[in-house]
C-alpha cells in the first residue's frame, strides 16, 4: 500500500496483469479443476481408451449430469449458508407425484410437470419456513424431511399402485406428448447423424452414430450451470446469496432480504430435485421409492469438491459442475479399468477429504486469516 499512493492508476493496472496466477489461486473452482485434471490423467493411464471416445464421454457425463443438477441447487444453497439433506428423498417423492399424476390421474405431461414443480416449491418453502422460523440448523430440519419424504414415497407408491413397490407405465402414457423431447432422450440427434454421415464422429456399420445425441439431462445440466453462474456472479440476487451465507446479520443490517433469499434457495434446490425426478422417471419409464437414494450426499460432495465452504458464503456453480463430472467419471470410469468397482466409495471419500482440506486453505488465503 505504500508505493501505490504515488502512482495509483499505473500501479493498479500493472498489478492486474501480473497477478493472474494469484487470481486463479483464489478461485473457488481451483480445487475441482485440479481434481478433474488428476482424475482425467488417472483414467487416461488406467482405463480402456473407449472411455474417452465421444460415446464414452457422454456415457459418464450422463450420470454426472443427474448428480450435477442436484449439485447446482445444493451449491447455491450452500453458498447461501444452508444445507438440504432431503434432496435425495425429494427425487423419490417428486417421482411419485409425477408418476401418479400421469398414470393415476391420466394427465398430460405438462400438467404432471407443473404439479411436480408446485409440489417441490411447497416442500422447499416448508423446509425454509421451518429453518427460518425455528432458527434450527438446516442440517437437522432437512434430515427429518429426508425420512419423511422417503416414507411418503414408500406409502404413496403402494397407494398409487394398489400395493406394489413400483409405479410402472409412465413413459408409455406420454410417449406422444409434444413436451417429451425436452425431458427425455437425446438432443441434437439430427446433428449427430449429420456428423456421422460426414465421418466426423464414429458410427456403427449401419450408419447410425455411436453416440446418438446429447443426453437431455446433460443439456439441462449445462444450462443450469450457466444460469446459476451468471446469477451468482452477475446479478443482485447473487450478491445477496453470498451475503446471506457470509454473515446473515451483517447482510440484514445492510438491507439484504436474507429470509427471502434463503427461501428461494430452498425452493430452487427442491425444484432441481424435481427436475431430476422427472427426467430419470421418464428415462426409466417407471418409478420406485428408492429413486434418488443417497443423492443428497453425492450432491453435497460434488458441491464441496467444487469449492463450497460448509460454513457458507463461498463457492461456485462451475465448481459444482466440475465436481459432478469428477463424480460421473469415477463412478463409470472404474468399469473401464481392471480396478474393482467397490473402490468407488473409497475414492469418493478420499476426494471429499482432500477437497475439504483444500477449501480450508483457500479460505484462509482469501480472508487473510492465519
Amino acid at each position: 500500500m505504500n508505493e501505490t499512493t504515488a502512482k495509483p492508476t499505473a500501479q493498479d493496472e500493472r498489478l492486474r496483469h501480473t497477478s493472474w496466477i494469484a487470481q486463479l489461486m483464489k478461485r473457488p473452482e481451483l480445487g475441482a479443476l485440479s481434481g478433474l485434471a488428476f482424475v482425467t490423467v488417472f483414467f487416461a493411464l488406467t482405463a480402456d481408451p473407449v472411455m474417452f471416445s465421444l460415446s464414452g464421454i457422454l456415457n459418464f457425463l450422463s450420470p454426472a449430469a443427474q448428480v450435477g443438477i442436484l449439485a447446482i441447487g445444493a451449491s447455491l444453497l450452500m453458498v447461501g449458508g444452508e444445507f438440504d439433506l432431503s434432496v435425495g428423498s425429494m427425487v423419490a417423492f417428486a417421482g411419485l407425484v409425477f408418476g401418479a399424476t400421469v398414470t393415476v390421474l391420466d394427465m398430460p405431461l405438462f400438467v404432471a410437470v407443473l404439479v411436480t414443480m408446485l409440489t417441490a416449491i411447497a416442500i422447499g418453502a416448508t423446509n425454509a419456513q421451518i429453518v427460518l422460523r425455528t432458527g434450527l440448523p438446516s442440517f437437522i430440519v432437512t434430515l427429518a424431511l429426508l425420512f419423511i419424504l422417503r416414507g411418503l414415497a414408500l406409502v404413496g407408491v403402494k397407494w398409487a399402485t394398489g400395493g406394489s413397490t413400483q409405479l410402472r407405465g409412465i413413459a408409455d402414457r406420454v410417449s406422444e406428448d409434444p413436451l417429451l423431447p425436452f425431458l427425455a432422450g437425446d438432443a441434437f440427434s439430427g446433428f449427430f447423424q449429420w456428423l456421422a454421415d460426414h465421418d466426423v464422429i464414429a458410427k456403427f456399420p449401419n450408419g447410425a452414430p455411436m453416440a446418438p445425441g446429447v443426453p437431455i439431462e446433460l443439456v439441462w445440466f449445462l444450462a443450469l450451470t450457466a444460469i446459476a453462474t451468471w446469477v451468482l456472479l452477475r446479478t443482485r440476487f447473487g450478491n445477496w446469496i453470498f451475503a446471506s451465507g457470509g454473515d446473515a446479520a451483517a447482510a440484514t443490517n445492510s438491507g439484504v432480504p436474507v429470509r427471502r433469499v434463503k427461501t428461494y434457495l430452498f425452493i430452487i434446490t427442491a425444484c432441481c430435485a424435481a427436475l431430476v425426478a422427472v427426467i430419470t422417471v421418464l428415462d426409466a419409464g417407471s418409478t420406485d421409492p428408492r429413486r434418488g437414494f443417497q443423492k443428497e450426499f453425492e450432491a453435497i460432495i460434488a458441491a464441496v469438491i467444487g469449492g463450497c465452504l460448509l460454513t457458507g458464503g463461498y463457492g461456485s456453480a462451475i465448481g459444482a459442475f466440475l465436481g459432478s463430472i469428477i463424480f460421473g467419471m469415477v463412478m463409470i470410469g472404474l468399469t473401464y479399468t481392471r480396478i474393482d468397482q467397490d473402490w468407488y466409495q473409497v475414492f469418493l471419500g478420499g476426494m471429499l477429504l482432500i477437497a475439504v482440506l483444500f477449501n480450508n486453505a483457500i479460505r484462509r488465503r482469501v480472508t487473510g486469516e492465519r
Binding site: 452477475r234 451483517a250 438491507g255 482469501v366
Partner: protein
C-alpha cells in the same frame, strides 16, 4: 438552528428484565456532528440500532423531518436517509470490497430477466470513493478479510457517504484504530459534515469527541443528562458525566489526573 433531520423522543428499550435504555431523547441537525458518549454497556449501540431500524423501541417516538416514523427494518431507515456504520462494520470478510460496498443496493443495468450487476461501474465507483477517502485499493475484488481495520472502517464510511446519507451514524469508528488512522477518520467525519450530512459519532473517547463534536450527549446506564453544545462543556465534565459523577473524581485522586 435548523430543524433536526431525525429526532428521538424518550426512547426506551428493554431486553427481558434488563433495561438498556430508560427514556433517551436525541436529535441531529444537518451539517453537525453530534457525539453520543458513554461507557461500556451504557446503551449506545442499542440506541443507534433503534435509530437505524435494526431494533424497535419498547417505548418512545422517532421523528424523521418532523414526521412520526417507525422503521420495521434497516432498509426502511436506509431509505429515509439514515446510514449506519456498525461497531462490527457489517462487513463480510469472504466477499470482495466492491461486493461489500454495494451490498443491499447493487447497481444494475439491463431489463427484466436480463437485469444484471453493473460490474464495471460498481468497481470504478468503489475504487474512486475509496481513493477520495485516502485508500488505494490493490484490486476491487480483493476480499475484505485481507484489509486492515482502518481500511474496513473507511469502506463502510465511504459507502454510506456515497449513498447520500442525510444522517451518518458511526458506532465507535475509532476504537480499534491507531493514531494516524484515527486522525484520518476524524478528518473524514469533518468532510462528511461539511457536505451537510448530520453525523452521529459514538465513542467513549472524550478527546476524539472534542476534536470534531458540535454537540455532546452522554449516556450513562441507559439514561442521559441532556445535551451540551460545543464550548458549554469541558472534556473533564464530559468524562465525569460518562463515569457517573463522583466515582471518577475519587479515581482521579489516586491516579493523579492521568485518566
Amino acid at each position: 438552528m435548523t430543524a433536526p433531520i431525525v429526532r428521538m423522543e424518550a426512547i426506551e428499550k428493554h431486553f427481558g428484565n434488563i433495561i438498556a435504555l430508560a427514556g433517551v431523547s436525541f436529535d441531529v441537525v444537518p451539517g453537525e456532528c453530534h457525539c453520543l458518549l458513554g461507557d461500556n454497556g451504557a446503551g449506545k449501540s442499542t440506541f443507534i440500532k433503534i435509530m437505524s431500524g435494526v431494533q424497535r423501541p419498547s417505548a418512545g417516538q422517532i421523528f424523521v423531518e418532523g414526521q412520526p416514523t417507525t422503521f420495521r427494518n434497516p432498509r426502511e431507515a436506509m431509505n429515509a436517509g439514515i446510514a449506519t456504520v456498525y461497531q462490527d462494520l457489517a462487513m463480510i470478510t469472504l466477499m470482495s470490497v466492491t461486493r461489500n460496498f454495494w451490498m443491499g443496493r447493487e447497481p444494475t443495468k439491463g431489463w427484466g430477466p436480463f437485469r444484471r450487476l453493473d460490474v464495471k461501474n460498481a468497481e470504478r465507483i468503489t475504487i474512486e470513493s475509496m481513493r477520495s477517502m485516502g485508500i488505494n485499493l490493490r484490486e476491487a475484488d480483493q476480499a475484505v478479510g485481507t484489509l486492515s481495520g482502518g481500511e474496513r472502517q473507511t469502506i463502510a464510511i465511504a459507502r454510506a457517504v456515497h449513498f447520500g446519507a442525510k444522517v451518518l451514524i458511526l458506532d465507535e469508528p475509532t476504537s480499534a484504530l491507531g493514531v494516524r488512522q484515527t486522525a484520518k477518520v476524524l478528518a473524514t467525519i469533518d468532510k462528511v459534515r461539511k457536505r451537510g450530512v448530520g453525523v452521529v459519532f459514538i465513542t467513549h473517547n472524550v478527546r476524539h469527541a472534542m476534536a470534531v463534536g458540535d454537540r455532546f450527549t452522554v449516556l450513562n446506564r441507559g439514561r442521559t443528562h441532556g445535551t451540551a453544545k460545543r464550548g458549554e462543556i469541558t472534556a473533564e465534565e464530559l468524562q465525569n458525566l460518562m463515569a457517573g459523577g463522583q466515582e471518577l473524581e475519587a479515581l482521579e485522586g489516586s491516579l493523579a489526573g492521568t485518566v
